[in-house]
């Protein structure tokens, strides 16, 4: 039942979060709010920052709560359409000002409520995908915890996709998977074994580009380890001209 242990680690609300990563990476960061259509969705945090006091970056990430109160405010890291539309707005802004986009993912999936449907969660995710596929700036996505379904890939159509060692990325939660296939969500751990949702399995399937080892690092240590890795990756992507980068991104997702 090793895969399911990873699932549990990936769901730990004390894992490295979007906000912790932003604080480690940026010497200054301004969070920007709202989708300009409906509201400000708190499960998606986005804004503009500086790396090393000089290099602008747009960061958009999904934030779970660390306690019940915060979790309710952040809707347990499941965003409705307004969150994805805020992400789209900030991506277009990054495009205009020619700065790279880093996305940080930790969601069990998009919000499944009547309101979410009413305001077009399908359309919001679809447009996030289109927007990401058309960005000419360098893009990097890192899955910090859970990478659940459409709500995760909506922010992961990037030049490079990385996963933390104990994160997961899947088409559906193992519980959902087990209940669809065997009509029994208690078989989740069996489902997890079959689903190839761990970072190492996904690297082997060529779905992701890199696994970030977690070892026994604290959140601070892990974030500190990631900072130079992110900086270098974005710098490398920047050396490639935009058309080549776009063609590469196309091929990256064309191969599946």
């Amino acid at each position: 039942m090793k895969a399911y242990e990873t699932v549990q680690k990936a769901r730990d609300i004390h894992r490295l979060s979007t906000i912790e990563m932003i604080n480690a990476l940026c010497t200054g960061f301004v969070e920007l709010h709202g989708d300009r259509a409906m509201k400000d969705e708190k499960s998606i945090v986005g804004g503009v920052g500086l790396i090393n006091k000089t290099d602008p970056i747009t960061i958009i990430g999904i934030q779970k709560g660390r306690n019940t109160e915060e979790n309710i405010r952040r809707n347990f890291g499941s965003s409705g359409p307004a969150g994805y539309r805020k992400a789209i707005r900030l991506m277009k802004q990054a495009e205009k000002f020619n700065r790279p986009v880093l996305t940080l993912i930790n969601t069990a999936g998009a919000n499944a409520t009547p309101e979410s449907e009413e305001y077009g969660i399908g359309e919001a995710i679809a447009t996030a995908l289109t927007t990401m596929s058309e960005l000419t700036v360098p893009t990097l996505a890192i899955i910090l915890g859970e990478g659940g379904s459409g709500g995760a890939i909506a922010l992961a159509l990037s030049d490079e996709v990385w996963m933390l060692e104990n994160s997961i990325y899947s088409i559906l939660s193992p519980e959902g998977f087990a209940s669809i296939l065997w009509k029994d969500s208690r078989l989740a751990s069996d489902a997890a074994e079959m689903m190839k949702l761990t970072a190492s399995e996904l690297l082997e399937l060529d779905v992701i580009d890199r696994v970030i080892p977690e070892a026994e690092m604290s959140n601070e240590e892990l974030a500190a380890y990631l900072v130079p890795e992110i900086v270098t990756a974005l710098a490398n992507l920047k050396t490639v001209d935009a058309n080549t980068r776009l063609a590469k991104r196309y091929d990256r997702f064309r191969k599946y």
Binding site: G120, A126, Y250
Partner: protein
């Protein structure tokens, strides 16, 4: 008096010709008649016309993909693309091969989508039709590949795309690779769009999950068939989340139109005319050769 009280309320009949009856029953095809999902009346197969409408209430019944193509396009103009690509089992998922075989037997197709090009009243376009009898027309690697090629080739040939969508969403048995199809198809739709070409999805029953969250909602003009379910999360999943029942019109195309995500609902009787008009409006100026 007990004698009278024992009188039964029914008369037992011994079926005398069981074998003969069984044989006769066996000769009746299973799909001779079925209940219309709309009006619940019994409709005989022979009563259903070429457009697969319920003869009693005009309910839009499930339309087999190949028949839909024949019904829609000018006779003899359809040329199929990538017919030979067959569903595979990339993650060697147990029981999946049997599901694929069943889908193939039911539909006579290699996978859940049919693609190609043809004409409607003389106007050329590329077309895709998904067939929900094939594993709910869920999207795995082959459906994603055929749709990607549809948009790529349409871009090369400078053709608009009309895509009849029906899908249960991403195909579970191909796991994460099905999720990747959302990105793959999106990219091809985007390139087609950037070439200034029309993409007109027609949402049919049901259009759900990862398909709604990608190419079903990336059209220039989005049409839908009456009463089609169009949504992202399944109704039952949402009901479990909120622990109460949802209204009957939840995720119905008519509701989704009211919410602002569909341009028009077009019944089959008006689809030839409607699509022809849109193709005409978006015809690219072609240099006369």
């Amino acid at each position: 008096m007990g004698f009278f009280r024992k009188k039964k309320k029914y008369v037992p009949i011994t079926p005398l010709r069981t074998e003969e009856m069984k044989q006769r029953h066996a000769q009746i095809p299973d799909d001779l008649a079925s209940a219309c999902p709309g009006c619940h009346e019994i409709i005989f197969k022979s009563m259903i016309g070429q457009d697969y409408l319920c003869p009693k209430c005009d309910y839009h019944l499930q339309f087999p993909a190949r028949e839909r193509v024949d019904w829609l396009m000018d006779e003899g103009t359809f040329r199929e693309w990538d017919q030979e690509i067959t569903a595979a089992n990339p993650l060697e998922f147990p029981g999946y091969d049997e599901k694929i075989n069943k889908g193939q037997r039911l539909t006579g197709m290699n996978e859940a989508v049919l693609t190609g090009q043809g004409e409607l009243e003389g106007l050329p376009f590329a077309i895709g039709v998904m067939d929900s009898r094939f594993i709910m027309a869920s999207m795995g690697t082959v459906v994603g590949e055929k749709l990607t090629r549809l948009f790529e080739r349409a871009t090369e040939l400078d053709l608009p795309v009309v895509l009849y969508i029906a899908s249960g969403g991403a195909r579970m048995q191909e796991g994460i690779l099905s999720l990747m199809q959302m990105a793959k198809v999106t990219q091809a739709v985007s390139r087609h769009s950037q070439a200034g070409l029309l993409y007109c999805p027609v949402l049919t029953h049901p259009t759900t999950g990862g398909v709604t969250a990608s190419f079903a909602m990336q059209g220039d003009i989005t049409l839908a068939e009456p009463a089609a379910i169009v949504g992202f999360a399944g109704k039952r999943v949402i009901e479990q989340t909120i622990k109460s029942e949802l209204p009957a019109d939840f995720q119905k195309a008519e509701t989704v139109l009211e919410n602002g995500f569909i341009d028009r609902i077009v019944s089959r009787k008006k689809q030839h005319q409607g699509l022809h008009f849109l193709l005409q409006v978006h015809q690219k100026e072609r240099t006369v050769e």
